[in-house]
Symmetry: C2
Subunit: 395 residues, 2 copies
């Protein structure tokens, strides 16, 4: 418990300083309660209540949950309630709650790792919390102090430390979720909400090295559109994709390559961002990923890969629209080097084949691919083989 | 209970006949259980458990719920469970349930009425159940027998008959809701779901005659798009609209007029379908509503108004795209007669003003408007002043 107390005292000091500054510059303080890590309550499992931990080799994504969850309730008139860590339990939700009717809900996907040095690390939580706040604003859900939430989540990781597999191919997936709970029909802003975090130990996404996937690219299905919410991590972006994902499976593919517009721009793949690595017409190697133009999710893995590639300075790195015509042309001219998806769950996921307008395009694969280099570099950061500011020490 | 028993016996007979026919024509029968009205269980409130009924004059949309709800659970391996009517209660939902993360959820809005003859009527339930089934298919939720569900809902209305206000301006709003409940992360088809129905007594939408609304029409906000799900009653279509609705309120308007495309086609208004009544360039009166082209919800009120207007044969009735340019031109040439919304909650809702590209267009209103005539005709059907097949007798 020392670690928690120390953290609280440190944050209290910071709060006092920020309060003094705020008062001095005349910032108004609302009467509404903020999320405060120092208010965190803990009601931990008894040893008997704890669940057996599955074997690291048996982990399936999203099936096993750890013993505890973090909850922070909110109401329009009181603001944020006390954060609480307690045994994982069913939520009691009124059948008229807005989350069940109007999909006022959003989530994030994050990961914590047990390093080779035994220390626990949390990958770029500031980025996920910043995105969570933008999604909350567009979803009419309230704002919160991202740093206080990160401290609460760190504490949750500490409590569940034994759930983080002792394996440098596994990790602890964290799912912050934010739902509108007020019991009244009517399409309107919520008056009550609940922010909670659940955790899943997850195994290696590729149990035996990389397993490239095959994609269906069919322009009749559109994931997001200008003036919509495709750049936010709202629940509403996911339900409509499942039926299309099934269509791709019926055709023997693993994922959907989402296209947009009359020129069939590549936007996302499954629930990942997409990268195309090719030789351009000047013979230069170029890594291309679609720009943040409102149609795609601003992925934290996407950002990290772009930052790494810029740092390496070995090839051109550009964020721009890329169309299927350009991919097909590069393929025909043998200039296409790689296509891969990037996301929290798999980190990097190579593509072996794209089915488009009746043709199957086989995507090259090499022993020493860029996607494998990215995967290795990211893994070194996750598991503390190199020290990096993206991997925030938890414990 | 006689009424329930009679209904069950009648339906059992129908089932046997349909079974015999199916066997004869060789239709395969699945082992999975279907929704069956004859399986309906009832656990009714004790008199002490019943809630006091609010005064009809105090009814606010979606705030008061009746004493009971109907639930039908579903699972991939067993099919549909027994329908049950029991006291309204919070749902116990696992924090990883797909409804809370990926918005796998849908609903319907329907109404039951107490007629002037004292009989209870249910408006076109077959239409709502047909739409619910199409939305379920696109949402990867299972199918069910619409007629069995209608019988279960009729029984729920009978149980709650005293909640239907004794007033010919009020009604019982019914909210069938269908959610994915299986406790596992991963964007995939659900293995468990719950279909439930809750009821709200609702007062007159316009407490003192019609209250026309003012609209914000801003093409930067897009509700739905080709290749998307805007024609289905998924929860996912609603969350993104609330922030835009707030923007319209900040500008002093009541609702959003949703436009689509570079030519600014009118699509929907708030959560209603839209109708434009004008004199065309040939001097003919013409009622125009956008077509069912995948961008708008196929409203049951929309359909009913179209059918009534076709029956009247007094003016042209067309389903076609109509742009803001055409509305502005008709306004300037004094050919615009009326604009109104149509939906289950308000039936018909006249529009007084449209704000578009920096101008406010005042929409004409007359004492004897088409919208009022529609409202009166529909009310006569709802309250049994005329006998009509759309108003299905419940009791």
């Amino acid at each position: 418990m020392t670690s928690k107390r120390n953290l609280i005292q440190e944050r209290k000091k910071k709060k006092e300083i920020s309060l003094r500054i705020s008062v001095r510059v005349g910032t108004g303080f609302s009467d509404l309660q903020e999320v405060e890590f120092s208010d965190l309550e803990e009601k931990l499992c008894t040893p008997e209540q704890k669940h057996p931990k599955p074997d690291a080799s048996a982990l399936v994504f999203g099936k096993y949950f750890t013993d505890h969850m973090l909850e922070v309730p909110w109401s329009l008139d009181k603001g944020w309630g006390k954060p609480i860590i307690s045994p994982i339990h069913d939520l009691k939700i009124h059948p008229a709650a807005k989350v069940l009717h109007y999909a006022i809900e959003l989530f994030e996907g994050m990961k914590a790792y047990r390093g080779e040095d035994g220390r626990l690390r949390f990958f770029r939580p500031d980025r996920n919390m910043a995105r969570m706040l933008s999604t909350a604003k567009r979803s009419s859900l309230p704002s919160f102090d991202a740093n206080e939430m990160i401290e609460c989540m760190k504490r949750l990781i500490q409590v569940e430390r034994e759930w983080i597999p002792h394996s440098t191919t596994s990790s602890l997936y964290m799912r912050p979720t934010f739902i509108a709970t007020d019991p009244s029909l009517g399409v309107a802003s919520p008056n009550q909400a609940l922010l909670y975090v659940i955790l899943c130990p997850v195994g290696p996404y590729f149990s035996s090295g990389f397993k490239p996937i095959s994609l269906m690219a069919d322009p009749q299905y559109v994931r997001s559109w200008p003036g919509g919410c495709g750049a936010l991590k709202m629940g509403a972006n996911y339900a409509p994709t499942i039926y299309i994902q099934k269509q791709s499976e019926l055709l023997g593919h693993q994922q959907v390559l989402w296209l947009y517009g009359e020129d069939h721009q590549l936007t996302e793949v499954g629930t990942m961002n997409i990268f195309v690595f090719l030789k351009n017409k000047n013979g230069e190697r170029e890594l291309i990923t679609p720009p943040l133009n409102g149609l795609i999710l601003p992925g934290v893995t996407r950002l990290s890969l772009l930052e790494l590639a810029h740092e390496w300075k070995e090839f051109k790195v550009v964020e721009r629209c890329i169309t299927m015509a350009e991919v097909v042309e590069a393929h025909e001219e043998h200039r296409l080097l790689e296509i891969f998806g990037a996301g929290t769950a798999c980190v990097v996921c190579p593509v072996s084949c794209v089915s488009y307008q009746g043709k199957e395009y086989t995507i090259p694969s090499t022993e020493e691919s860029l996607s494998q280099r990215f995967y290795k570099t990211m893994s070194d950061i996750f598991y503390g083989r190199v020290q990096h500011p993206w991997a925030v020490i938890v414990d």
